[in-house]
Symmetry: C2
Subunit: 258 residues, 2 copies
């Protein structure tokens, strides 16, 4: 029996049979830690640049499914609600220098028609995850899969920094008509937990009382018992998202102006 090929080599040689040419997906995964917004990045075995967990679309696969599969494959994160937010299509998105080096080092024959050397359009998805709940694992092409502060991003591949910034911008816009937090918080949480998320996403402080009033007016929360932290102060109530109402609000929006 033939020895297993190098998976990267296999991908370079046979990828064109499996994947759509010219189309990729890039996932911007936001996570929280100590009230800081983080983004999940991969670092390839072969390069020093960091990158978003992105990949390609199979020839017979919905792009939404592709985004989810790519995320699962490259980071191990599963069952994450991904939201498409923008498609990026500058003509020379990709620099092929590193790629061509890889061809040489793996002794893979190629020419300028090779599918990976073509220009790609990338469909951007974002998601919000609870930092503590997930355990990112790099795939075999990557040596690292770790969280990075948004204000201390390392050197990023191609236009991935632009993609991250656009994702954040769109996310902030949608905060006005979409609820947030479902998979960001444990089953039960305090109002302060939720407020911290909004404050972190918006990068500014919100008034405690007003925030509470507004969120409760959306009617997507159920109040539970009290939560005794052991802190020397009044115990806060716990809340949970009313799933039905939460997802209805995700679909229908939280009420409009016009």
């Amino acid at each position: 029996m033939k020895q297993k090929e190098n998976p990267l080599k296999d991908f370079l040689l046979k990828g064109h049979l499996r994947y759509m040419p010219g189309v990729s997906v890039d996932n911007v995964i936001f996570g929280f830690h100590e009230n800081q917004l983080k983004v999940l990045l991969l670092q390839a075995n072969t390069g020093k640049f960091w990158m978003l967990p992105g990949g390609f679309v199979q020839k017979n696969e919905h792009i939404d499914e592709a985004a989810a599969r790519v995320l699962q494959t490259r980071t191990g994160l599963d069952n994450i609600f991904l939201q498409q937010f923008h498609t990026f299509g500058q003509p020379r998105r990709s620099s092929n220098k590193a790629l061509i080096e890889t061809f040489h080092s793996l002794e893979v024959p190629y020419d300028h028609d090779h599918w990976l050397l073509q220009r790609f359009v990338s469909i951007g998805y974002y998601a919000l995850v609870e930092y503590e709940k997930v355990h990112p694992q790099p795939d075999e092409l990557s040596r690292a899969c770790t969280w990075h502060d948004l204000d201390k991003l390392p050197s990023l591949l191609l236009d991935h920094k632009e993609i991250i910034m656009k994702a954040l911008e769109e996310l902030r816009l949608r905060l006005n008509y979409q609820p947030v937090g479902y998979n960001l918080l444990p089953e039960q949480f305090t109002m302060k937990n939720l407020q911290s998320i909004y404050e972190t996403l918006l990068d500014r402080e919100l008034d405690r009382a007003n925030f509470s009033r507004k969120i409760l007016s959306f009617g997507i929360l159920d109040r539970k018992r009290k939560h005794f932290t052991g802190g020397a102060h009044k115990a806060p109530f716990l809340y949970s998202f009313n799933q039905k109402k939460y997802f209805r609000a995700l679909e229908k929006g939280l009420g409009r102006d016009f």
Copy 2:
């Protein structure tokens, strides 16, 4: 000198040299007529289905430019502000039956690897235009390029109906934080003109006084002289968009909740 090829035949044979495989753009052009929202559709010479003015992305072209070029080429409409709103990527978007008939009728050789028979992802753009201002002309592939009522759409190709509906949905959402009307109205217009646009887009009536108050509060309008229509009633003021403020609002948004 060789006779000019059939342009369609030329496109089928050589398109793969010029265009990205697997990626297309589709434009949803909304227009107004008698307070009705219309959408611009093409009908191919060879088929009975109507379609959005869509096309392909050149190998070295920004997707935004592709959308504008495609629109210009296929409908004659130029200098239109197109807004990307969603990318559609179900795996079997395209039915190739009609296409294969075309291959046969033009006696173009093909196999299942032909670039046009591959699965396509389509990037959706929308725009709003003043019905009276533009004069759509079908390209040589099409026998018609006409406006259609949204509530009386003809049979549409592929998923184009879904694309139109999504465009309208996104447009309505953006009405809450983006100004509308710049290229929809003449240089000067009445408050009623503008209100009609909003009413048509939202498909519901708005209170005259409240609408005026709200729009004026955005601070994107300059009041001009009065306009004497000849009607037997008080003459309305004319307004014009303050370009600087209008486009700043397009960029920055019209004020948020959180």
